[in-house]
Symmetry: C2
Subunit: 720 residues, 2 copies
């Protein structure tokens, strides 16, 4: 059958015709069309808007059922499209990607100053050490070799005074908890096993000697803890009791005859479990036990128990097992410890907040047993601050790698054009950029936490504990989620150990468990918020709850403003005032309704424990809303405080992206509450897309803004 | 100051007073109350409902600002509460947990029959082999040792005929793809490195010889592939092109003078990357390359290239590097391959769908180059089915471990009572039970997929490819998310390698990347759905999209029924008809609006590639809705098909939990669409809680229903 005459007179001049030209080409080039298919295209073209009549006639000439165009004839169709429909079998040119697509809209150095913060010198010094000899990267090694490397590296840091930064000057320290926190978070850019060993030795072990001990303990142990001459453990967790520390079973029984305490593991569930430094290196342990004096149980107290002698042999009565291979952190030697009636001198009891006289009289300046308990386990608060910081370092590393890779890696693309960079895909932007925004939000929030923690007075203690618990849970979950997305965004490359997601993910996975299980911490946060009775500690006593209700039940939560709920203006959607109001409103309303629901249950005579379990999903939502409100506030405050206008503008967009992307995630709640209308919810989704596109050219600059040295970032796929 | 008189006359008889008694005890026992605090409690008690006047008087007697009760006096308060406020310092009794709290409401054996499916004998045989000698579990080993173990284990399976199950009988097989799939998924209960090596050797390597080769290839290689006498690779992916296979750069150029093909790696980005079996074991590779005949590029074709001789030495012109340590799957020897003008005989080209004559004439029975391309890479479809199955096996293992542990592990609790089992906490139920429901949903959906795949005819090919792509992405993401939650739910125990989350998480992390990146696959799904033009393959040609629009744009998506949107009856919420309607409605509406948005962009002259990028978030939402609708339908159909009434009832509840928990996750969408009212959204959340509580006593039975032998489950925390 002869080829039918075709016309392309008008088409090259009518851009509206191009898609239909493609349509026809694509349809025929894959084989013959059925009559139905041709009719469908004909109908479509007949009703297409914006097409000139001449173009329409031209196009219809290609749709004659009995006269399919020949291959040669089809080729002519390609001409007006200037080669934009290359055959699938022709490989596209491979373009060598530049390191970065565009210079950022701001000075990356100026942004790096913001992230370095006011303790930049400490950070720089730790970076120098981590870039020096003895800190090479290894991907394959036995846990035994890894543990020894980490110990050696710990000693290098200690030799520089980094380990004792938080201790008093008389013990070789700088009395500076803030710098200690910065050192901790900075090590997490190298190897998180080192970070955790650092935390165990200098923070949990040395820090507890400092916090709970008195001069006799400080004089004897503190300097050596800071230099790693004396290696130690923090033996709190037991197999049977992890979260519920108050119910640990190990006992420390005072014997006035000998003036000694006898430490004992009464059952197998009482074994000290998961104790860092225990399997190999630790010589002295801070042991938490139920103190028994004169037959009375006085609750959990801490005392020092030698577990190995100087030669490394286990002490008599002490049994230690290695926890073995773990999902991550295999450079930390976790172990299990059993005590069989081990005796230590009376002076080994930390006696800052409680003491036992030689005769066996128990005394404490703190009357409330619950307050005494929470003071005793107070070291966990510093631990929570540290863990949040370490999680953020890992999150930043993952994002820096994924953003750099996404900026250069190309795959697929428009016909005839070079393949498209991954970060130019909307889905890829939506994977990485909101999380980049979260990392900056957390950077401001955790700097705020460190400052509050370092400068705390006794009155603020409780509030800061709540802050630390909430931000620890929020940051560690954000990190786990972000690393997963970043790994996936790097495809198969992200799965090679050398590209670092292996260790980053594995090592930080436990961050949502240790130093307080996140789900438990989030409940503590809410219990604390439901109380303004500051002397009360973390328990669920109904008094706390009811007082809150008594004070607030009458304050009806304000109804959302109907006009604001429908406002879809871009200016409004990007306005920090809107963001702050949204996060505050959600927190207030979730807490208010939670209090009412709890009160209802208690009024009906439900046990307070079961009442809380019954609304536990609500509790977690409220805790998350609380933590996220604080993060949002700190991001807005941080942006407001920027001195560099270009940095301020860039971070301001990120702050809006953080706000809107988090509202989008929880839009179910905001819609239910009537806080946003359906139209506004749609507009928020659209604005997230717009912000992603606007931020995209700055993405590499923002990732570089974290200031992670290339040598530490390490991943070959992220190297210039 | 003398203790004031206190009365407790009425209280023991008035249960409504108990919470207030607790309140007063807790308030005073922590120290003195301020006047304000006392007033607040007084006001509260004065206005409390349900309290008798006498009880109110009793209670007020304890709230005299100037007369705090003495410690002794406070003790008397405890009596009416029968010891339910034990001091925080008294350890609670440790209760040895039984294996299971209660027998399930159904026969676990009957449920196990359902999950074993109709190919139970194969599953049983593979379980037997995996429980035999040579299949011990190891937590610490070098990747070198692990690789050798896996190869030996592969040979044990092959010796039993497991490797060649899908091959024709004349080559030692059983011609049974379904049994092959079951064998694959069953190995994933032991070591997923073995599973992947199994897939590479028997599926990708042997399967491609079977699918693309002809008798000459089958005769020479197929039997040996099935016995592992001949080890092979599937060399498709290149460093520069993973997802975009059509643009790989390796060339196979025909030389008529010698009758040979010359295989060449023209650039470094053309290196074959991540090739399983390449680093150590593979001798022969199925290589995908651009076929060049007479100077013309004919697109991607596959041919056999020897890469090592029988002694294991690399062949001339071939360079191989080890990919090194990976995040997981270190028992698989992935490598990179470069070819330097390597020559192979013309007969090494797989010639089922295309051939080159000795003289250099290219012939193919498939006219469309794009159809030829998708036939050539068709092995990936079987791969996707398999990967989805493997992901579900991992998900089941993780859930079985976490559910058993959550059933016995106790932490915290009501005062004076034994500590509470984790699975009795609402948050814990909400972590594990909806995911348990998802695993059962996927079990039915993937059995359906396997059956469709095994029994496919050519007409259904396209539909089944779409089904496999959607379910692969859905199942692998569900597994990653579920394993993370299960690991966290097991706390520190979940972090020990012996408890299996280490390998389970690490090995399956790449499942969302290989055999098609999930994000890419989900886009293929939608592109395919937007077309009913079956001969068209996976590309974004506008024709496909516009035809859909032409056919459907006029069908306005029905508006949600206003009465149904407000129906909060439990019967309605649990009704499978409601569930099916919700999932179908969402899919239909998302696809309809997507088509309209795409049409709008194309009408404005936007390039089809960029038009898709511009609505990419919508595309992913539609793809997810599609996959989830299929999963929901198969779960409902599976429950309807249950012959055991008790099993049917239990799975029916799980099906409702799956439906409602997924709707809850996406309630933002359902609210925006007007498909559910705010009240209904609340009712759904509540019903999820109710279902979790109802299912909880069956949880261990449901986890055991997966039928994983204890020896394979392995985790000490999950052992009886």
């Amino acid at each position: 059958m002869p080829d039918a005459p075709r016309s392309l007179y008008v088409i090259p001049a009518d851009p509206a015709a191009t898609p239909y030209l493609r349509l026809i080409y694509a349809a025929w080039s894959d084989g013959e069309l059925t009559d139905d298919e041709i009719r469908s295209v004909q109908t479509h073209i007949a009703s297409a808007k914006g097409l000139s009549d001449a173009a329409r006639t031209d196009l219809q000439s290609w749709l004659q059922p009995n006269r399919p165009p020949s291959i040669e004839s089809l080729q002519t169709l390609l001409k007006p499209m200037s080669g934009d429909l290359a055959s699938v079998t022709e490989p596209r040119p491979t373009v060598e990607p530049p390191v970065s697509t565009a210079s950022a809209s701001f000075s990356v150095a100026a942004l790096q100053e913001v992230t370095a913060g006011k303790r930049a010198a400490t950070r720089r010094r730790v970076f120098e050490i981590l870039s020096g000899p003895g800190f090479e990267r290894h991907w394959e090694r036995s846990k035994e070799a890894h543990r020894e490397q980490v110990l050696e590296q710990l000693k290098v840091l200690a030799a520089d005074g980094i380990g004792s930064l938080s201790y008093p000057e008389e013990y070789g320290g700088s009395d500076d908890m803030g710098r200690f926190a910065v050192a901790f978070e900075t090590t997490a850019f190298y190897d998180i096993s080192l970070t955790i060993k650092f935390g165990v030795q200098f923070g949990l072990f040395g820090g507890t000697i400092h916090a709970l001990g008195t001069k006799r303990h400080h004089d004897r142990y503190l300097r050596q803890a800071g230099t790693v001459e004396l290696t130690g453990c923090f033996a709190m967790t037991e197999l049977g009791h992890g979260s519920n520390v108050a119910d640990i079973e190990t006992t420390a029984t005072y014997d006035p005859a000998s003036g000694e305490f006898e430490i004992d593991t009464p059952s197998d569930s009482a074994q000290k479990n998961y104790i860092g430094n225990a399997a190999v290196h630790g010589r002295l342990a801070v042991v938490f036990a139920q103190l028994v004096v004169g037959g009375e149980v006085q609750g959990v107290h801490a005392l020092l128990v030698p577990i190995r002698d100087e030669a490394g042999a286990t002490m008599p009565g002490v049994r230690i097992e290695d926890c073995g291979q773990k999902l991550g952190l295999n450079g930390v030697d976790n172990g299990r410890i059993w005590f069989d009636h081990v005796r230590v001198p009376r002076e080994n009891l930390f006696n800052r907040y409680a003491d036992v006289s030689p005769e066996g009289e128990y005394v404490s300046p703190i009357e409330s047993p619950s307050k005494r308990f929470f003071t005793t386990i107070g070291a966990l608060v510093a631990g929570r601050v540290s863990v949040a910081l370490g999680a953020l370092s890992a999150m930043k590393s993952g994002l820096a790698i994924a953003v750099r890779y996404g900026d250069r890696r190309r795959q697929f693309g428009a016909s005839g054009a070079p393949e498209t960079r991954l970060l130019d895909y909307r889905t890829h932007q939506r994977k990485l950029l909101p999380r980049l925004a979260s990392a900056y939000a957390l950077d401001f929030a955790l700097k705020h936490l460190v400052d509050r923690f370092v400068n705390r007075n006794e009155e603020e203690q409780r509030e800061i504990e709540t802050l630390a618990a909430g931000l620890k849970a929020y940051a560690t979950w954000a990190n786990i989620e972000s690393l997963q997305v970043c790994r996936e965004a790097c495809g198969g490359q992200g799965y090679l150990s050398e590209n670092r997601f292996d260790d980053l993910k594995a090592d930080t996975d436990i961050f949502c468990t240790f130093e307080g299980d996140n789900t438990v911490l989030m409940q503590l946060v809410v219990k604390s918020l439901l109380s303004d009775y500051r002397r009360q500690f973390e328990d669920a006593r109904p008094f706390t709850l009811l007082k809150y209700v008594a004070a607030r039940a009458a304050d009806a939560v304000r109804e959302p403003h109907p006009l604001a709920a429908r406002n879809t203006d871009a200016d409004h959607l990007r306005d920090a005032e809107f963001h702050l109001d949204a996060f505050r409103y959600r927190e207030q309303r979730l807490l208010g309704s939670l209090a009412r629901r709890l009160k209802h249950r208690l009024d009906q005579g439900m046990d307070s424990f079961y009442a809380l379990v019954d609304v536990q999903d609500h509790v977690l939502a409220a805790a998350n809303a609380h933590a996220e409100r604080i993060v949002m506030e700190q991001f807005v405050a941080g942006v407001a405080g920027c001195v560099d206008p270009a940095v301020q503008t860039a971070l301001g967009k990120l702050s809006a992206l953080f706000a809107l992307s988090r509202i989008e995630v929880d839009r179910g709640w905001f819609l239910e509450a009537g806080y946003v209308s359906t139209a506004k919810s749609h507009a928020i989704r659209e604005q997230v897309n717009v912000l992603c596109a606007e931020i995209r050219p700055d993405a590499v600059g923002l990732a570089d803004g974290f200031g992670i040295p290339d040598r530490l970032l390490g991943a070959p796929i992220a190297m210039p």
